[in-house]
Structure formats: structure tokens, C-alpha cells
């Protein structure tokens, strides 16, 4: 055999041998999480936890939110056991907890102070009174606006604005020749994208996803009013290409001074006031998310939480880590190393000290919004589901995205509001029927 062929074979044997040398060892805790500032900070500060627990080695898998959701769903449904700690939202906590895929977070030590965690957040992560995930941070939706533009135009933002007022302000503040747009709202299709925002608009207009018999409600006048309002205000005063804009795109527009008003997640508060990211950091005002005929469901509730799957290989150490990362001790560590304004918001009453409220000017509005949310009664009329910007049923991801695509098409102008609502109604009726709703028994 020629030398080159021998080299080739030897190389193959060597590389295949090397591939075998990568097994995980006992004491490893694999944590799947999302890439955002708070989670990356947790990853950095977790060295303290490893110092306190020399037998435990943390391994991090950081993924983009949608990829993470797909990965975790695949892994947990097949009991793959790739992860010991999962970063999940309220939607997954409710569904997976009910299916028995998550370990119950019971017998928490007194030092954890579970009573310090806001009841709305605790309830959102529980099923039948059993807690399945520990909240890392929680967010609501609030209104961001440019104080300088309001002042120049002689306008005053009320503490609790209505959508009609927001539309009037947006009209007056739009100057397309200067690339200054009155309002920026999510338009990108997706159940966690435009539908999160549009659901809160719809709730405010008195609309609901389903009636008590799980019949879709897109054929009702409340939805027509809400969607007409959203499409009209965005067409008149929104930025071009709004149907492609999600959280990040609107954040970029707002931070570069192109939006006068933006309604979105409260987590953006720290970004828009950060001078290293925002050109308008000094002139941002904060107020409550707009309402219309009701303030029920006008602001959403979301929480990133840490959970342990039943398939976890190292659940004992995983539990120790989840308790540490969501504890008061961790909050104190963040305050000490990174400043009090960087403490994970929205989960514990003890976070909201005077010092914190002073450092984070949006903190009080976030806190009051979180206290006021009622996921079991998200609008005027009664509903059979739990959730403000989402419906906690397994079918919602598909239904929400389908509806989101129709509404995004209405925003682009490729279909009318009426046609989008008709299409959303018929598609949702079909999907719900296929899923067996209304459920018997």
C-alpha cells in the first residue's frame, strides 16, 4: 500500500479514536438557556456557585429563543436527557408540568423565601397549585416614549394612556421626511412576535381568543375594531417594512431615534436607557401599556424560569443550581458585582427597594403592571383559557403563528383586515376541531 493511503487510514483511526473521548462525567450539570443579558450575566456569575460547590461543574448551552424551544421540546418529549436545567417560559411550564415532564419544585428551604416571589409569577409557573419552575426574571409590557419630542410638540403623555390617545400622539409626532415615526409596534408574524402585542391590543378592545365553549372569536366586532386600529395606526404612523419588525428591530429603531412611541416588553427599559446602546438614552419616558375599553389584559406577563426535566441525569445538583440562581442571594450578588439596576426584575418583592427604583426609572411601572395582571381573566368577557398574550394550550403555537401570518399580511396590505379575520376564524375553527375542542369531560 502506498504511503499516502497508510497515512489516510492512520488519520482516520486517530480522529475516530479522538471522537470517543468526549463523554460527560458525573457532577456535570448541563444548563440550556437563552442569549440575553440577564442569562449571560448568570453564566458569568455562576463561577461563584461552582466555587461554593466544587463537586459540581456547570456546562452551558446557550441558544436563540426559537431554537431553544425546539431543542427542549424534542429533548423533553423523547426523554433525551441532554439537559439538567431548562430555561423555559410560562407557556412551557404549564403544559410540560401538566404532562409530568418537569420535576415539581417542592420542599424549598425557608431561606429561599418563596412568599417573596410575586403570586402572579408563581401562579403562571404552577399547575394545580404545584410549582414546576423557579422564576429567574419576569416582564410585562410598557410604553416607551421620547420626552424631548413630546415636549417640542407640546404634548403630555398621560400616566395610563388609551390606544386612541397613543394614535393621536403618533399622528402629531410622525415626520417621515426626517425618518421619524410616531409609533413602532411588532409586525413580524409569530405567536411570540406580533401576536403577543396584538393580543394585548385585542384584550384592551374587549376581544378574546375563544368563548367559553372554545369557539374562536375573530368574527366578533371587538377583533375587527382592534385589528383595524392596529393596521391603520401602523400604516399611517409606523415605520416602513413594519411587517418584518420584531422586538430587536423596533429596539434598533427606537435606540437610533426613529420612533416617538414604542409599546413592548419591559425588559427593553435597561437597553433604551443604556448610553452604550441608545442614542436617546437621556430622553426616554416610561408609562403603562395603553388600554382602551378595558385595562384588563392590556399588559402582558412573561417569565423566564428554570426547570428540571424528569429525564435529567443529575437532578440533585440541578436543583441546587436552580435554587441558587433564583434566590435572594443571587440577587444580592448581582447588585454587588454589576450594580443594583441589573438585578433580575419582576420576580421578588424584595428586589424593589428604593435604591433599585431610583437606579431603574422603569421599575415602578413594571412592578405595578406585574401586580395588576390577571392571566385567568385577560379581557372583559370570560374565557376558558389562562394567558394574556397567549393561550396555554398545546395547539396555540400553530394557531397563533397562523393567525399572526394573516394579520401580518393585512399590515403589508396584501389582504384586507376583514379577509384576514375571516381567514383566521376559519383556520382556527378547523385547527380547534381537529384538536378535539371542546374537550369532553
Amino acid at each position: 500500500m502506498k504511503t499516502s493511503a497508510k497515512v489516510l487510514l492512520a488519520g482516520t483511526c486517530l480522529t475516530l479514536t479522538l471522537t470517543l473521548c468526549n463523554s460527560a462525567s458525573a457532577g456535570d450539570v448541563t444548563i440550556a438557556t437563552v442569549n440575553n443579558s440577564d442569562m449571560i450575566r448568570m453564566q458569568r456569575l455562576s463561577k461563584t456557585f461552582e466555587e461554593q460547590h466544587p463537586d459540581i461543574k456547570l456546562k452551558w448551552v446557550v441558544l436563540e429563543e426559537n431554537v431553544l424551544r425546539q431543542r427542549l421540546t424534542t429533548d423533553i418529549a423523547t426523554k433525551g436527557g441532554q439537559f439538567d436545567v431548562l430555561t423555559i417560559g410560562m407557556y412551557e411550564a404549564s403544559l410540560w408540568g401538566a404532562k409530568g415532564w418537569l420535576k415539581e419544585m417542592d420542599n424549598l428551604p425557608a431561606s429561599y423565601a418563596l412568599d417573596d416571589v410575586f403570586p402572579s409569577v408563581r401562579d403562571g409557573l404552577s399547575v394545580d397549585g404545584k410549582l414546576f419552575a423557579l422564576p429567574f426574571y419576569a416582564e410585562s409590557s410598557i410604553t416607551y416614549y421620547r420626552k424631548d419630542l413630546f415636549q417640542a410638540a407640546g404634548l403630555t403623555m398621560p400616566e395610563r394612556p388609551t390606544w386612541t390617545q397613543i394614535s393621536e400622539f403618533a399622528d402629531k409626532l410622525t415626520d417621515k421626511s426626517k425618518e421619524q415615526y410616531g409609533i413602532c409596534l411588532r409586525g413580524k408574524a409569530g405567536w411570540g412576535e406580533n401576536m403577543a402585542l396584538i393580543s394585548t391590543v385585542a384584550n384592551s378592545f374587549g376581544a378574546r381568543w375563544f368563548d367559553e365553549q372554545w369557539k374562536p372569536q375573530f368574527d366578533q366586532p371587538e377583533w375587527k375594531d382592534a385589528l383595524n386600529f392596529y393596521v391603520n395606526v401602523m400604516k399611517k404612523d409606523g415605520p416602513p417594512g413594519a411587517s418584518s419588525n420584531g422586538f430587536n428591530e423596533n429596539l434598533a429603531l427606537f435606540n437610533s431615534g426613529k420612533c416617538a412611541i414604542w409599546v413592548d416588553a419591559s425588559v427593553a427599559g435597561s437597553f433604551v436607557t443604556d448610553k452604550s446602546q441608545s442614542k436617546v438614552a437621556d430622553s426616554v419616558g416610561f408609562t403603562y401599556a395603553p388600554h382602551e375599553v378595558t385595562d384588563k389584559g392590556s399588559a402582558w406577563l412573561y417569565s423566564w424560569a428554570l426547570a428540571i426535566p424528569t429525564s435529567a441525569k443529575n437532578d440533585k445538583d440541578a436543583r441546587a443550581f436552580t435554587e441558587w440562581a433564583t434566590s435572594k442571594e443571587y440577587a444580592a450578588l448581582v447588585a454587588k458585582t454589576d450594580g443594583v439596576s441589573n438585578v433580575p426584575p419582576g420576580t421578588r418583592a424584595s428586589t424593589y427597594t428604593d435604591e433599585y427604583k431610583k437606579a431603574a426609572p422603569f421599575a415602578n411601572i413594571t412592578l405595578e403592571s406585574l401586580k395588576a395582571v390577571t392571566p385567568k381573566a385577560p379581557t372583559l368577557k370570560p374565557v376558558p383559557y389562562v394567558g394574556i398574550q397567549l393561550v396555554t394550550i398545546p395547539e396555540f403555537q400553530q394557531i397563533g403563528t397562523n393567525v399572526g401570518q394573516q394579520f401580518s399580511a393585512a399590515l403589508v396590505g396584501s389582504t384586507t383586515v376583514d379577509a384576514a379575520l375571516t381567514q383566521a376564524q376559519s383556520a382556527t375553527v378547523r385547527d380547534m376541531k381537529r384538536a378535539g375542542y371542546p374537550k369532553k369531560g
Partner: protein, 277 residues
């Protein structure tokens, strides 16, 4: 009146300019990615886009601090090279048999092999995931090596088959008359003649393995995660981290770009010429 020589010169200049424009358009996203990686986050999304700015290394320092780049790069190297070698070891005998011992089903088999590339990977995600779980291969390099080998096998067999088909049968007959065995025929006659083509096929397979993201994101977590997983970890739905994402993408692309740069002569020669032309 333009002479023939002038006309040809003008044609050559126009074609040359067109090639440069196309090359610049293709290269621009890579150029922009590298440029953005040296910007601050606020400069990264500035409008109008900034070409002149104060460069910073803070994004690279952040990556160094947060991630073990060399762990991911080592996984990428091991997985890509192993899968490519394995692929060639299977594809060369397969292509040899198909090119020189053709049956009435050969063409059909080749087409069928290629048709497997048309299957959306997500369609087989669950069965593959369950198989990997059953064999204890989740988050292991072996799982990725096997999958990448199988994914690239059709295209590698096809390419090698076309190179082998270009070799006149008389050359092989002559070697057989000289008493060459099948192994000698492959190693001493075929491979030396087609080494340009084989090198370009190997390089293509290597690039495909290096860039593959679907399976690496779904089947690995920490131990076996390659560079594509590292890039994904810097993509953020809440927060503008474009400069950091550009920096990590630059780091992930750099090894394969350098490797491609070094071996570009082989690649062009292999792709544009047959084995014995």
C-alpha cells in the same frame, strides 16, 4: 472603426470588470461581517451604516471571556475531517464500481441517491434523535460524523463518479494487463490520475460539514458542539448584539476560509477540469 484586437480588448476589460463587480457583491457580506466585528454595538446598527469608525477589540475579548472558542473549533475540525475521510473511504469504491462495472440499474441508483438530498432534514429529526438516544450518541461527535457522512455521500459519490467516468477504460485495461490487482488499480492508477478532483471533492465535503447547522444544533449540547452551535449561542431575540455576533461569526468562518484560500488552486482545477483533460 474598432479593430478586432481593440474589440477583443474591450470585451476582455468589460468581462473583467463584470467579474470584479460580481466578486465584490459576493464578498461584501463577509467584508461587512468582519468590519462589524470591530465596531461597538451602537456603531453596528447606526444608520447610515458606518464605514469609518474607531475600531475596537472588545467583542473578541467578550467572546474569549464567555466561551471556550478552541473547544468548539476542535470539535468542528474533528467532525468535519472525520466525516470527510469516512465519506471518501465509502465513496471511492462505490464510484469505482458504478463507473467501471455499470449495470442497467446504476443510473437509477445514482439518481435515487441524489434524491435523498431533497428530503427536508426536519422530516427525519425525530427518528434520528430517537436512534441517537437509543445508542447513547446524543451530544457525541460520532453521531455527527455518521450523519454528515451520510448527508454528503450522494454528492461525493456523484462527483467522484464523474471524474472516474472521464478516465478512458484503456488505461485500466493496460494496468490489468500488467497484472494490477483491483486495489492497485484504485490506489496506483485511479487515485493518482484523479487526485485534483478528489481533493476538490474532499474540500467541498469539508466545507459542507463545517457549515452544517441543523443537525449540530439538534444533536449536540456541550461536549460535541461545533462552531455552528457557538454562533447560534450569540444570536439574541432580546437585545442588539450584532457586533458580538459578527465577531463570533468571523472567528467561526476564519479557519475554513483560510483553508479554502490555501487550497483554492486544487478546488478550481478539480471543479473545472475532468480527470485527464
Amino acid at each position: 472603426m474598432m479593430t478586432l484586437k481593440q474589440s477583443r480588448r474591450l470585451q476582455s476589460v468589460l468581462l473583467g470588470s463584470l467579474s470584479w463587480v460580481i466578486a465584490a457583491l459576493i464578498f461584501f457580506p463577509i467584508f461587512w461581517m468582519v468590519l462589524t466585528s470591530f465596531k461597538t454595538e451602537i456603531d453596528a446598527f447606526a444608520t447610515p451604516p458606518q464605514f469609518i469608525f474607531t475600531p475596537t477589540l472588545e467583542n473578541y475579548l467578550h467572546i474569549q471571556e464567555r466561551s471556550d472558542y478552541f473547544h468548539f473549533a476542535w470539535n468542528s475540525i474533528l467532525i468535519s475531517f472525520s466525516a470527510t475521510i469516512l465519506c471518501l473511504l465509502i465513496a471511492v469504491p462505490a464510484a469505482y464500481s458504478m463507473a467501471f462495472f455499470e449495470t442497467k440499474r446504476t443510473k437509477g441508483t445514482l439518481l435515487w441517491m441524489l434524491s435523498t438530498k431533497m428530503l427536508p432534514p426536519v422530516g427525519v429529526l425525530m427518528p434520528i434523535y430517537l436512534l441517537a438516544k437509543t445508542f447513547g450518541l446524543l451530544d457525541s461527535r460520532i453521531a455527527l460524523i455518521v450523519i454528515y457522512t451520510l448527508i454528503n455521500l450522494p454528492i461525493v459519490v456523484w462527483m467522484i463518479y464523474t471524474y472516474f467516468k472521464d478516465i478512458p477504460g484503456e488505461i485500466l485495461e493496460a494496468s490489468r494487463l500488467d497484472g494490477a490487482t483491483t486495489r492497485q488499480e484504485i490506489f496506483k492508477v485511479l487515485i493518482p490520475i484523479c487526485k485534483g478532483g478528489l481533493a476538490s471533492t474532499a474540500l467541498l465535503s469539508l466545507i459542507l460539514c463545517w457549515n452544517e447547522a441543523f443537525w449540530s444544533l439538534n444533536l449536540t449540547s456541550s461536549n460535541a458542539a461545533p462552531l455552528t452551535a457557538l454562533i447560534a449561542s450569540y444570536s439574541s431575540p432580546e437585545g442588539l448584539f450584532w457586533a458580538k455576533l459578527s465577531a463570533v461569526s468571523t472567528l467561526a468562518c476564519a479557519p475554513i476560509l483560510i483553508f479554502g484560500w490555501i487550497s483554492q488552486k486544487q478546488l478550481v482545477r478539480g471543479l473545472s477540469f475532468g480527470a485527464v483533460k
